[in-house]
């Protein structure tokens, strides 16, 4: 039984990682057509270094995802605190309205954002993409940070107040350290939501600029080159490194 479950988990992981591993391997293969035998070569990384379009798009993606993570985490954390610690009229309805955007297909959200941004004069561009990504990430942040806030009642904050801590001191010394793992998780989520986002970016990108997923899509349509494998490999290494570092620093769910 034990061996069986071992094998099963191995299969699940293989299912997840095999395509990625193949892609990474091919980034280092000389052949452009996935031909074997495998010949190690850094030719595609050199090609990538010369591909200004792909590099610019990567830079846009990282920059937007980072800004999105900061903005969405900040705004979402404040909203989560309002939901968890204060009572006001219409709170339940507002909380309920957080979830539908998660289930509405991106294609529809993207279209509606395009129309809305056009209509309000916000237009297209990196600022519009960032705005769209923040809107998309907010529900995730609020849910993740909110769950963390729910895990301890307002009593800790009340205790801090009785000890003479001002509301700001209470937030910095008690609330924030308590929700820190949730905030970091939320920021990663927001980063990932933005970094992965294709449809909205595609709709809101003006001609000439784009994000990495959009650029990869465009490149594939024009004809696949293994530079895509190369850039993807770099991204995979960076994001997995990030996740592992965070997982090491924070035992999620614990104190």
């Amino acid at each position: 039984m034990r061996r069986l479950s071992h094998a099963y988990l191995g299969l699940v992981l293989a299912f997840l990682y095999l395509p990625i591993l193949v892609m990474v391997a091919m980034a280092f293969n000389r052949s452009a057509l996935y031909e074997l035998p495998f010949t190690f070569d850094l030719v595609w990384f050199r090609a990538l270094a010369d591909n200004q379009r792909l590099l610019a798009a990567s830079w846009n993606s990282v920059w937007i995802a980072a800004c999105n993570a900061v903005i969405a985490t900040f705004l979402g954390t404040l909203a989560a605190i309002a939901f968890a610690r204060y009572s006001f009229r219409g709170k339940q309805l507002m909380q309920l309205l957080l979830f539908p955007p998660i289930t509405i297909p991106w294609l529809i959200i993207g279209t509606s954002m395009l129309i809305f941004f056009f209509w309000t004069g916000i237009g297209r561009g990196l600022h519009a993409i960032l705005l769209g990504h923040v809107a998309l990430s907010l529900p995730y942040v609020i849910v993740v940070v909110g769950a963390r806030l729910q895990s301890f009642g307002p009593t800790l904050e009340e205790a801090a107040a009785t000890l003479g801590a001002t509301p700001v001191q209470t937030f910095l010394r008690v609330t924030l350290p308590m929700i820190a793992p949730g905030v970091v998780t939320a920021a990663l989520f927001a980063f990932a939501v933005s970094f992965d986002q294709f449809v909205i970016s595609y709709f809101l990108a003006p001609p000439g600029t784009s994000t990495l997923p959009v650029e990869i899509y465009t490149a594939i349509r024009k004809g696949f080159t293994p530079e895509i494998n190369a850039v993807s490999s770099i991204i995979i290494v960076i994001s997995m490194g990030l996740m592992l570092a965070v997982a090491r620093n924070y035992r999620f769910g614990g104190d």
Binding site: A160, L163, A165, V174
Partner: protein
């Protein structure tokens, strides 16, 4: 250390009146117990003094200085919460030092105060631990030390021993009492445990439905309750109803006369431990009810009898008797229940 004056304080939540014109003074250095059933308003009163509840009407003053509009963090109070509310991300030392840190007390003063407090609550050497590494009783003591660290004007305790088991609870009661005496801080604590209230308090207030039922020293309230609620909430009581015959006599439904030292009233009580249970043939003076044993519960030092008495109808008479001889009367045995007129308490 402060005197706390609560003057005609009312608080209402929708249709529910949590506090109804409560007026009470907590003397400087007093250990005061607020006792009442759940939902009686005792916690609301404590939280109003802390500043978490803003009264609809009335005033609260520390040493004559009104505080209703002073926010919690500027009231200079210490509070121990029911589940201690220790900061799990901080060490024991940083928990206790929290109040000093937010006031930017300088390092050497902080360390000195910390050492004193750890010694006071017998936790020297535990400073570097996290709260989750401590037992319930130790956590309770950290919470107490934390609340005392800033030398608050008033110490508020919300069911402080509620989460401990019986044995530890009794130990902590003694310890709490000692620490309170040592620091001399005005202490107000909420409990629904009558034994805790009796053991710890200089004075007790019994609260019900947002109102003060009775305020007084434990002995005073126990020996001389002024209402049926106070009589039954603090201790057990046998209730005698009848008609007043003269200044010191109450006639029960069957004609039995009950004498009291105090002026008679239509309702009187007698505490179960004041009643002597005698064989039916014994000569008896004072108040005597004739009955038969319904149930006898032997618990070592004492015996609890339920006695069927015609004069009281269906309600059996409760009597706690010291088991000096070791003999236990059996159900069905005819007995006399006797007590002196001084022990009849007209309400």
């Amino acid at each position: 250390m402060s005197r706390v004056d609560v003057d005609r304080v009312s608080k209402r939540y929708g249709q529910v009146i949590a506090l109804d014109e409560v007026t009470i003074t907590f003397a400087d250095g007093e250990f005061f117990g607020l006792l009442g059933p759940s939902g009686s308003g005792k916690t609301t009163l404590l939280r109003a003094i802390a500043g978490f509840v803003i009264p609809d009407h009335g005033t609260i003053a520390f040493d004559g200085e009104q505080v209703e509009s002073v926010p919690v963090h500027r009231r200079d109070i210490g509070m121990v919460f029911q589940n201690y509310a220790l900061f799990p991300h901080l060490t024991v030392a940083d928990n206790i030092g929290f109040g000093l840190d937010v006031r930017h007390v300088d390092r050497s003063d902080r360390e000195r105060r910390l050492a004193d407090l750890l010694a006071l609550v017998r936790l020297a050497g535990f400073g570097a631990r996290k709260p989750r590494e401590l037992s319930g009783g130790q956590q309770q003591r950290v919470a107490l030390a934390r609340a005392l660290a800033t030398r608050p004007r008033v110490l508020l305790l919300d069911e402080p021993l509620g989460a401990l088991d019986r044995r530890l609870r009794q130990e902590m009661q003694v310890e709490l009492r000692d620490i309170q005496r040592e620091t001399g801080v005005t202490t107000i604590f909420v409990t629904h445990d009558q034994e805790e209230a009796l053991t710890l308090s200089d004075r007790i207030a019994i609260i019900n439905e947002g109102r003060l039922v009775q305020v007084g020293a434990p002995v005073e309230i126990y020996e001389r309750p002024r209402s049926l609620f106070a009589a039954r909430f603090l201790g057990d009581a046998n209730i005698l109803r009848g008609t007043v015959v003269d200044r010191s006599t109450l006639r029960l439904a069957d004609g039995t006369l009950i004498r009291s030292a105090l002026p008679a009233a239509p309702v009187a009580i007698v505490r179960p431990e004041k009643i002597a249970v005698l064989p039916a043939a014994a000569p008896a003076a004072g108040n005597v009810l004739v009955g038969e044993i319904l149930q006898a519960v032997y618990s070592g030092a004492s015996i609890t009898y339920r006695i069927r008495v015609a004069a009281l109808g269906d309600e059996p008479l409760l009597a706690f008797v010291q088991s000096a001889s070791g003999d236990v009367l059996t159900p069905g045995a005819p007995v006399l229940a006797r007590w002196s007129p001084e022990q009849t308490i007209p309400l």
